[in-house]
Amino acid sequence: MYSMQKAEKMQALREFAAEIRVETLKTIGSLGFGHVGGSMSIVEAMAVLYGDVMKVDPKNPRWEDRDWCVLSKGHAGPCAYATLALKGFYPLEETRTLNKPSTNFPSHTDRTKTPGVDLTTGSLGQGMSTATGAALGNKIDGRDNHVYVFVGDGECDEGQVWEAAQFAAHYKLDNLTCFVDNNKNQLDGKVDEIMSHGKGIGAKFDAFGWNVIDVADGNDVEQIYDAVQQALTVKGVPTCIVLNTVKGKGATFAEPSGAHSSQPSPEQWEEAIAAAEAELAAVKAAK
C-alpha cells in the first residue's frame, strides 16, 4: 500500500535530486567545462542513497560502520561533490574550486582529498574491484553495512569489471550493490556502435550469478528507491541494479547530444543553471 509516509519521502528525494542537479551544474560551471554527461545521469541514484538509504556521518567521514559509495566511473566526481556538500560534509562553496590548483575536488574522485569519498577511482573498472574488496573486508569484520558502487555502461568494456563480478558472486557478497549507469553513450559515441554488450549488461551480471534488477527509468527516484529496498532483502548474492538513464539528464546543452564532456559558452551555462533552478522550484511547488 502506498503510504503518505512514502509519498513524502519520495517528494523529499525529488527535491534533493533537483538540488544536486543545480549544484553539480554550478560546480562544473565554476570551471566552465567538464564531465557533465555522466554526472547528470546518476543524480537521482545519488539522491536516493544519500537522501535516505545510506548510513553516513558527515562529521566522521571514515566512521567504521558507515555505508560506502564508490564511483567507479570516477569522472562523475562533481555529482558526488555536490551531493556530499548538500549532505554537510563540507561547505558548498568549496566545490567551486573544482580542478583549480591545490583543490580537494579533482575531476575524478580521490579518497585522500575529499571528505566522504571512500575510494580513489579514475582508471575505469578499478572501483569495481576496490568496492568488492571493501565489501569483503566489511563482511570479514561482521559489520552491518553496505557498499554501493557505480559503473558506467561504457566502463563495462573493461575486463576488470567482470573479474570483480565473478569474485563478488563467488564470495557471496550480499553487502555489495552495483549500479550500472546505462546511459547508452560512451566517449566516442553510442555504446551499441563503439562496443556493444551482447545480450545486455544485465544479462551478463545474471550469467555471473548476480541478482539483477532492471530499472526502466533510472532517473526516477521512486523506481530507484524500490530497487534498492529489494536489493537489501536479497541474501547470498550481490545485486546489480541496471539504471536506464539519460546521459546529460537535465543539462540543456548536454542532454540532447549525450556528450561525455562539455565546454559550453557562458550563455549556455546560464541557461542550463536557470533551467535546473526552475525545475527545482517546480518540484518544490508540487509538494
Binding site: L119, T120, Q126, S129, T132, G137, I140, A164
Partner: protein, 325 residues
C-alpha cells in the same frame, strides 16, 4: 639491525616461501587485520597453510591478478594489512595500473609479493621471467622495493613490511631454498644496506648486490682475496628507498663500484646506484645483470651462465672497474 653472516654457499634447507608463510602465520595469529590474497598460486608458495589456519583471511582471487590487486586495496581501505601474491611477472606487469592507482596513489599500502624473480622462473621460461618487476615498482612514488636472499631475510622483512602503512611495497621472493646467507634471528632495517665484508682502506672496490647475487658476490670476494684483491660486499636488499649514504660512503672509501642483480640492470639496482653516484659522488661503476634482454627457458644454473649472473663475471667487472679508477 643485527645480523650473523653464514655465507658458506650452502643450499638453504628451508624454502624462502616458508619464511613468508611462517611470518604470516605468526602475524595473522597476533593481528586479525592481517590478510593474504592469492591468485590461484597458493599451492606454489604453501599459503594453503594460511587458508587452513585462517580461512576467512587467506583469500583466493583466482586467476585474475588485476582484480586481486583492487580487492587488496579495498580490503586495506577497511583497515586490513593486506598482502597480495602472484608470480613476479604477474604481480607487477599484469596488475600494475591497479597497484599504481587503486593502491599507491590512493595511499592504501598493499604489500605485494612476487615469486620466482628473474632467472628463478627457470623452467617456466621467458614468459614468466621478470627482469622488469622491480623497475616497474621503483617508478611508483614512495613505493618500497625489496629483493631478499634467503629464508631468514624473507621472514624478517615480511614482518617489517606488514607494519608499514600508507605506501605500497613490492617484495620479490625466491620460492625454493637457495643459499643460506644469514643465521636465524638476523634482523634488517628497510632502506639500510648490510655490509657483509669490509677490510677498511684495503678495499679496492665495493660490490653492491641483492637476492641470488649476494652469494655470488661472497664467492667473488673469496676468489679475489686469493689473488690479493680486497673488496667490500654490501647486500642492498632494499632497492627503493635506496641507502644513499652507504653508497656514497663506499664510493668515497673504495673509489669503484660493481653492482650485481637478477634483473635488467639498465633500469634496476645498477641504474639506481649509478643515479646516486652521478648526483652525489661521481665514481666508476660496472654492472652485472641482465642487459636489456628477455628471459628464456632453462635450468637456473644454465640461465645464470647465459646472462652472466656469476661470481666469475663479478670478478671480471671488479678488475675492470679498478682499472678505470
Amino acid at each position: 639491525m643485527s645480523f650473523t653472516l653464514i655465507g658458506k654457499h650452502e643450499k638453504d634447507k628451508r624454502n624462502c616461501r616458508d619464511g613468508y608463510v611462517q611470518a604470516m602465520l605468526e602475524l595473522m595469529e597476533a593481528d586479525k587485520s592481517v590478510v593474504h590474497v592469492d591468485c590461484d598460486l597458493m599451492n606454489c608458495i604453501n599459503t594453503g597453510k594460511l587458508k587452513a589456519a585462517f580461512p576467512d583471511r587467506a583469500i583466493n582471487a583466482g586467476i585474475a591478478e588485476a582484480n586481486a590487486m583492487g580487492v587488496a586495496a579495498g580490503l586495506t581501505a577497511t583497515g586490513k594489512k593486506t598482502w597480495m601474491h602472484s608470480f613476479g611477472c604477474f604481480s607487477s606487469r599484469r596488475a600494475f595500473d591497479q597497484a599504481f592507482m587503486s593502491a599507491a596513489y590512493a595511499k592504501l599500502g598493499v604489500k605485494i609479493l612476487g615469486s620466482d624473480p628473474g632467472v628463478c622462473a627457470a623452467y617456466n621460461g621467458g614468459t614468466h621471467m621478470p627482469f622488469e618487476d622491480c623497475a616497474l615498482y621503483m617508478s611508483v612514488p614512495d613505493a618500497i622495493v625489496i629483493d631478499p636472499v634467503d629464508y631468514v631475510q624473507v621472514y624478517a622483512l615480511t614482518k617489517k613490511l606488514t607494519a608499514v602503512e600508507g605506501r605500497i611495497s613490492y617484495m620479490r621472493m625466491i620460492r625454493k631454498g637457495f643459499t643460506t646467507v644469514y643465521a636465524d634471528g638476523s634482523d634488517f632495517e628497510i632502506g639500510k644496506g648490510v655490509t657483509l665484508k669490509e677490510n677498511g682502506d684495503k678495499d679496492q672496490a665495493t660490490i653492491i648486490a641483492s637476492g641470488i647475487m649476494v652469494d655470488e658476490s661472497l664467492k667473488a670476494y673469496e676468489k679475489l682475496a686469493e689473488e690479493g684483491i680486497s673488496v667490500r660486499v654490501i647486500d642492498m636488499f632494499t632497492w627503493k628507498p635506496i641507502d644513499e649514504d652507504l653508497i656514497v660512503k663506499s664510493a668515497k672509501e673504495t673509489g669503484a663500484i660493481v653492482t650485481a642483480e637478477n634483473h635488467n640492470c639498465t633500469v634496476g639496482l645498477g641504474a639506481a646506484v649509478a643515479r646516486v653516484l652521478a648526483e652525489k659522488c661521481p665514481t666508476p661503476v660496472e654492472m652485472v645483470g641482465v642487459h636489456d634482454q628477455f628471459g628464456q627457458v632453462g635450468a637456473q644454473s644454465f640461465l645464470q651462465e647465459a646472462y652472466k649472473l656469476t661470481a666469475d663475471e663479478i670478478i671480471a667487472k671488479v678488475k675492470k672497474v679498478v682499472g678505470r679508477k
